[in-house]
């Protein structure tokens, strides 16, 4: 038995852990986010407690009637939630209707605070008078901070009580509403999920706590008025940028391979764009195409125009596209060049000489030997470039402000940032991913290498 060497596994372990945490997990989360509605429906409880039996689910947006309310001790994690209705309860001491000294809990609905410490802590209050003739004029004092806890005493209106302690309770509502199948359900829910209407007797389910699979976000994405323009522009850019880049990159690669004098300087200049961000490139080309920018200055200097022409406006959309095209050509051709050059360097000189010797002209060599041998490199470059082209973002923002001409990455950003809709943003992200994968598969099939065949 040969003992297995575990060293390499230890060495790659940190990478695996890292990628699992910060790549695989978010990726899966992203996929889920786009098809999973976290707040599809609200679970009703049989009593005003989260641990009680479920009494059915009502979908988000259901119109409901409020039947009853009750306070429940507020847990810390939901203390900042929106729509939260709370009431305060006070642990108070005083004298009850029978003259006994008592200590018990009373709701803020029943106790009017009369005296507060400097920091706002209540010190003393009086019991409110009850309105309405039929109601019991006495106020209940409870054993604990809940209206359903046992009553330990009763006090008269205007009794002075000293506040010992304050507790915040979340209001729970007992609601009634119809689910999708027309069935009427009744149950208790916390107030933070409910939007209460002005009449205090009805409302709607505003948020929910039960997730469900949904295509709603993809529908929203497709129906978004920017979706189709974004798809169109992205595909258009891909279609025009990539071929131009490959031609330019091949020319650059051949120039580098020609080993001219100052080759090192040419290589440096050719590779500068590789380190420039898309935002900077966007600004670079903005400085050229803006109304008082380089292009107009040069044209006017040459006497070709008499006044500055607008390029980056809604009326000159084609100019924006041309500017984006040039900017992307400027920025991302270097990486293709580098890949093509390393592909060319990997072809042995003797193989090219052999082709020449066995009668192949330059074009025959290019077609029968160089290009087939470059296939793997071209494949990588194509896939890489397509993925980058599908993601084009800051260049577009810099040149069009992101409104006149829009692309998929920009819409993802907009959905997330402007509309605060992570789900639709994720749907866009998944769409971009699908587009990249489709083109990658397409290239792998179209530019199949012989290793795969054999």
């Amino acid at each position: 038995m040969k003992k297995r060497n575990w060293t390499p596994y230890w060495l790659i372990l940190p990478t695996l852990i890292y990628l699992a945490l910060f790549f695989a997990y978010p990726m899966v989360r992203g996929l889920i986010l786009s098809v999973w509605d976290d707040e599809a429906s609200l679970r009703l409880q049989s009593t005003a407690s989260i641990t009680s039996d479920a009494a059915g689910d009502l979908p988000q947006g259901t119109q409901i009637r409020l039947l009853d309310r009750q306070g429940n001790l507020l847990s810390d994690e939901v203390a900042d939630a929106a729509n939260l209705l709370t009431e305060q309860w006070f642990l108070a001491t005083g004298v009850d209707v029978e003259g006994n000294n008592i200590e018990g809990w009373v709701s803020e609905n029943r106790l009017r605070i009369r005296e507060e410490a400097e920091d706002g802590t209540p010190i003393m209050g009086t019991i409110r008078r009850k309105l309405g003739s039929t109601a019991d004029p006495l106020t209940d004092i409870h054993e604990s901070a809940s209206s359903v806890s046992p009553v330990i005493a009763k006090v008269e209106a205007r009794t002075e009580l000293f506040v010992q302690e304050v507790a915040t309770l979340e209001v729970w509502f007992q609601i009634e509403g119809e689910n999708e199948t027309g069935e009427t359900l009744t149950g208790w829910v916390p107030s933070r999920f409910i939007q209460v209407y002005g009449d205090e007797e009805s409302g709607r389910i505003d948020r929910a706590n039960q997730g469900a699979f949904t295509l709603e976000f993809f529908e929203k994405m497709v129906n978004d008025r920017f979706f189709w323009p974004a798809v169109r522009t992205t595909l258009l850019l891909m279609l025009f940028i990539i071929p131009a880049q490959f031609v330019l990159a091949t020319v650059m690669a051949l120039v580098i391979q020609a080993r001219l004098r100052f080759n090192s300087i040419f290589l440096y200049i050719f590779s500068i764009p590789l380190g420039v961000s898309d935002l900077a490139v966007g600004i670079l080309f903005f400085s050229i195409f803006t109304q008082n920018g380089l292009l107009n200055s040069v044209l006017q200097g040459l006497g070709l125009i008499t006044q500055a022409q607008p390029y980056l406006t809604a009326d000159t959309r084609h100019w924006i596209l041309i500017a984006i095209w040039l900017a992307e050509l400027w920025r991302a051709t270097s990486i293709v060049m580098v890949i093509v050059v390393s592909g060319l360097q990997a072809i042995s000189d003797e193989v090219l000489e052999a082709a020449e010797l066995f009668g192949a002209s330059f074009w025959q060599r290019l077609w029968h030997v160089i290009l087939p041998l470059l296939k793997p490199s071209l494949q990588v470059a194509l896939i890489l470039r397509t993925i980058l082209a599908v993601q084009v973002f800051a260049v577009v923002i810099a040149l069009s402000g992101g409104d006149i001409v829009t692309v998929l990455a920009n819409e993802t950003f907009r959905q997330y940032f402007e509309f605060r809709n992570g789900n639709v943003a994720s749907a866009y992200a998944v769409f971009i991913l699908a587009l990249s994968m489709l083109s990658a598969v397409f290239y792998l099939r179209a530019v199949r290498t012989q290793q795969e065949l054999s």
Binding site: P8, L279, A394
Partner: protein, 286 residues
């Protein structure tokens, strides 16, 4: 001895003329491409170092730097959020390069030195990770970071950038290690080194320049990254994110100076790592 026929001489001359022409053509092409890359940079450079008045003027002077002034650049650097943005960008970039190099170096060593079951799968997965769009990763990570209370932190941005940089770094470092023959390590061990000493005294000095180049590349990648930075930070924006958000309300002076400022690292670092580029991407495309 036989004499050269006139026909041979003519042929020779034609060949030489053609070679010369090809050469000239190559130079002209090289210079044209260089100009295509340099002119925009030069223009924005001259705009970044002139007065704001000149930036607003039209038509602009063809002669650069007239008048030369640091006014525009100063205006940009004094704008709200720029200095903190630069500091944030630097912290994120340095964190990214440190974390990714620390994690990638052992993995790169493993794939270049060991043949182990699962090695190809590992390599392929790394390549696949590289091929995933940043956009796809940013949104769920943002949601995740919000959930665990790490949102709007430059540290979480550094974690995200590391995930982006890791695959390339691993492959590049792997290729750097592969270029140092294992025999050297063995020789060092034969001459009395422990495996670690052999690594420390023989391999490390040889791979350091390559690893430095890959680290620089990681730095530039992080410095340039806009999308994730804009999604993941709100108050603690990095420079590109800050510029991106200020873009629509800012003057051209701000934009031009910002644009130039952001491409300074590219101008500096590409000079140092240009020779390693083919190493990096050549290996990656294999």
């Amino acid at each position: 001895m036989s004499k050269l026929t006139s026909e041979t001489i003519a042929l020779h001359k034609r060949m030489q003329a053609r070679q010369k022409l090809n050469r000239t053509f190559a130079y002209v092409t090289a210079i044209l491409i260089a100009l295509w890359i340099l002119i925009p940079i030069f223009f924005i450079f001259s705009m970044a170092f002139t007065t704001q008045e000149t930036v607003r003027s039209y038509p602009k002077n063809f002669l650069p730097f007239i008048p030369f002034s640091t006014e525009t650049m100063q205006f940009f650097l004094n704008s709200a959020g720029i200095v903190p943005g630069v500091i944030n960008s630097l912290i994120v970039a340095i964190l990214t390069l440190v974390i990714s190099t620390l994690i990638a170096a052992p993995a790169g060593y493993a794939i270049s030195r060991y043949i182990f079951p699962g090695r190809n799968f590992f390599r392929l997965s790394i390549l696949a990770v590289r091929a995933f769009p940043i956009v796809v990763l940013s949104i769920p990570l943002a949601v995740l970071f919000i959930r665990v209370g790490m949102f709007d932190s430059i540290y979480s941005l550094a974690l995200m950038h590391t995930a982006l940089a890791l695959p390339t770094t691993i492959l590049v470092i792997g290729s750097v290690f592969a270029s140092v023959p294992y025999e050297l390590e063995e020789a060092a061990q034969v001459f009395g080194c422990t495996p670690f000493q052999a690594f420390r005294h023989v391999v490390l000095p040889l791979v350091l320049p390559g690893i430095a180049a890959s680290a620089v590349f990681t730095f530039v990648l992080s410095w340039n990254e806009v999308f994730a930075a804009s999604i993941l930070t709100v108050q603690n924006r990095t420079l590109p994110a800050q510029v991106l958000f200020a873009l629509s309300q800012s003057s051209e002076a701000y934009q031009f100076a910002g644009g130039f400022f952001m491409l300074i690292p590219a101008l500096i670092f590409m000079w140092f790592i240009r020779k390693y580029l083919f190493n990096m991407w050549g290996q990656v495309s294999k």
